[in-house]
């Protein structure tokens, strides 16, 4: 069954149509790479799914149930939007770690805050927090940064910061993990460690949406590729279909430009 179905997502900024009728679906464990030139709307698409932007039209179906309908947006209050958001994890291009917290605190902060309203916390605060911390350490281990747990973001390299940002997103146990150009803000020699973490998540069947410019990486890791231009889906298929036999000239030109780099 599909974990996620995005149906006809549209978004305008003023009169500029940034997304028009974008639809796609994700099955459990699938990795979808979203490709496209700057300004093609791919980041906006990701931000719409996390409600950082408000879609003008479209529906989001999660595991067969309606999660979000743009037509009903005004009926959702802050709390409803927050709960919907938690199905998605988001990794930013520029990491956006909280500078005043250590790597470990960055990972567990939101979980701790969220836990405070749960019955488990009311029953046994200490146990709930210990459980969150244990899980936080497990995730740090998983991304290979448990030795940096007490480092502050400024003490970490860009690649390490981005890995902590991935850990922070994972800690909320999202259904779908979204990456917005996770390596674009990194020096070339630091992209490898981040891509390695994403690859290992793919191997563990994490459901992921990745906006990226790393063509080779997309080909390797993605099960499906969605190519966008001017807010529209131009190609949607397996890496072989999209990258080896693109159906449109636009895609061909795009691929030539980026694979040549």
């Amino acid at each position: 069954m599909n974990i996620l179905e995005a149906q006809k997502i549209s978004k305008r900024f003023g009169t500029a149509e940034v997304l028009s009728d974008v639809s796609f679906s994700l099955t459990g464990g699938e990795t979808l790479a979203i490709l496209g030139a700057s300004g093609s709307g791919k980041t906006t698409l990701l931000r719409c799914l996390n409600f950082l932007e408000r879609p003008d039209e479209g529906r989001i179906i999660l595991r067969g149930d309606l999660l979000y309908d743009a037509a009903l947006h005004d009926k959702y209050d802050d709390k409803a939007i927050r709960e919907k958001r938690l199905h998605f994890g988001f990794v930013f291009q520029s990491f956006n770690l909280f500078p005043q917290y250590t790597a470990f605190q960055n990972v567990v902060l939101a979980r701790e805050l969220a836990a405070k309203t749960t019955p488990e916390y009311a029953a046994d605060k200490k146990k709930t927090i210990e459980e969150i911390h244990r899980e936080g350490m497990e995730i740090l281990d998983q991304i290979g940064l448990s030795n940096k747990r007490d480092f502050y973001p400024y003490q970490l390299s860009g690649g390490q910061q981005q890995r902590i940002a991935i850990a922070r997103a994972l800690a909320m146990r999202p259904d779908i993990l979204c990456f917005d150009e996770p390596t674009s803000a990194l020096d070339p020699e630091l992209t490898g460690e981040v891509l390695k973490v994403i690859r290992s998540l793919a191997d563990k069947n994490t459901t992921m949406l990745i906006v990226t410019h790393e063509m080779q990486f997309a080909r390797e890791v993605a099960d499906t590729i969605l190519y966008m231009d001017e807010g529209m889906v131009i190609e949607y298929g397996t890496p072989e279909q999209v990258m080896d036999n693109p159906s449109s000239d636009r895609t061909k030109r795009f691929l030539e430009r980026y694979t040549a780099e």
């Binding site: 709960e83 994890g89 909280f98 500078p99 005043q100 502050y152 922070r168 997103a169």
Partner: protein, 214 residues
């Protein structure tokens, strides 16, 4: 009058100086935050009046404000403010709240939108994002301008004497009218010592927040 006797007199006035200083901060620090939220509100009906208030308070002398708050309620509404000291505190708290609000606003607006978004995608509430993520970064950034303003407050307390609230300087003036001039100049030692202690405290606060960069 001995040196010690003079200092006992000055100390009496200085206690009032300290009280004006402390009460002004206690009221104006949180009030300033509310005013800064008001001045950033998306609702014009809130934002415009708040901005006019800030304009009036920053656009007129504090000395005039003290007089207006002390005399005008009695003159116009026939409801005089019973206590001169309360009038001073109201005027100071309002005046400093408006200055603080602008410093807060600058600090809050200097924090990147992406910090809010990072909190949002982690399901944090607006209050959690503000108090757990944004506030400490704002505090770190506004310590230098705030310490400036708070040091100015130490010296502004001397304006209370305009409606005969006896603080340090007024106390020295009373001695001067009895023919003893030097205590007037000696008050400078009190102000300098006080500001010196505050400066050390601000330096300490800045050091304490050096553990992160933002």
């Amino acid at each position: 009058m001995s040196f010690i006797q003079v200092n006992l007199n000055l100390w009496n006035g200085f206690q009032n100086t300290l009280l004006i200083f402390a009460l002004t901060l206690i009221f104006s620090l949180p009030l300033g935050l509310l005013i800064s939220f008001g001045s950033m509100s998306k609702y014009r009906l809130l934002r415009y009046p708040i901005n006019i208030l800030i304009w009036i308070v920053r656009g007129t002398p504090l000395m005039l404000q003290i007089m207006v708050i002390f005399y005008v309620p009695g003159l116009i509404f026939n409801a005089p403010i019973a206590s001169r000291f309360n009038a001073v505190i109201i005027a100071f708290a309002l005046n400093y709240a408006c200055y603080f609000s602008e410093i807060y606003r600058g600090g809050i607006q200097s924090i990147s939108k992406s910090q809010y978004e990072a909190g949002q995608v982690l399901g944090m509430t607006k209050a959690q994002i503000f108090f757990r993520v944004i506030l400490l970064q704002v505090i770190k950034r506004i310590i230098p301008p705030m310490s400036n303003e708070i040091i100015t407050l130490v010296k502004d307390t001397a304006l209370a004497r305009i409606i005969v609230v006896v603080e340090l300087l007024k106390e020295a003036e009373i001695l001067a009218t009895r023919g003893m001039i030097w205590p007037l100049f000696f008050t400078g030692v009190y102000y300098l010592a006080f500001v010196g202690i505050l400066t050390l405290m601000f330096n300490y606060a800045e050091k304490r927040l050096q553990y992160f960069r933002a």
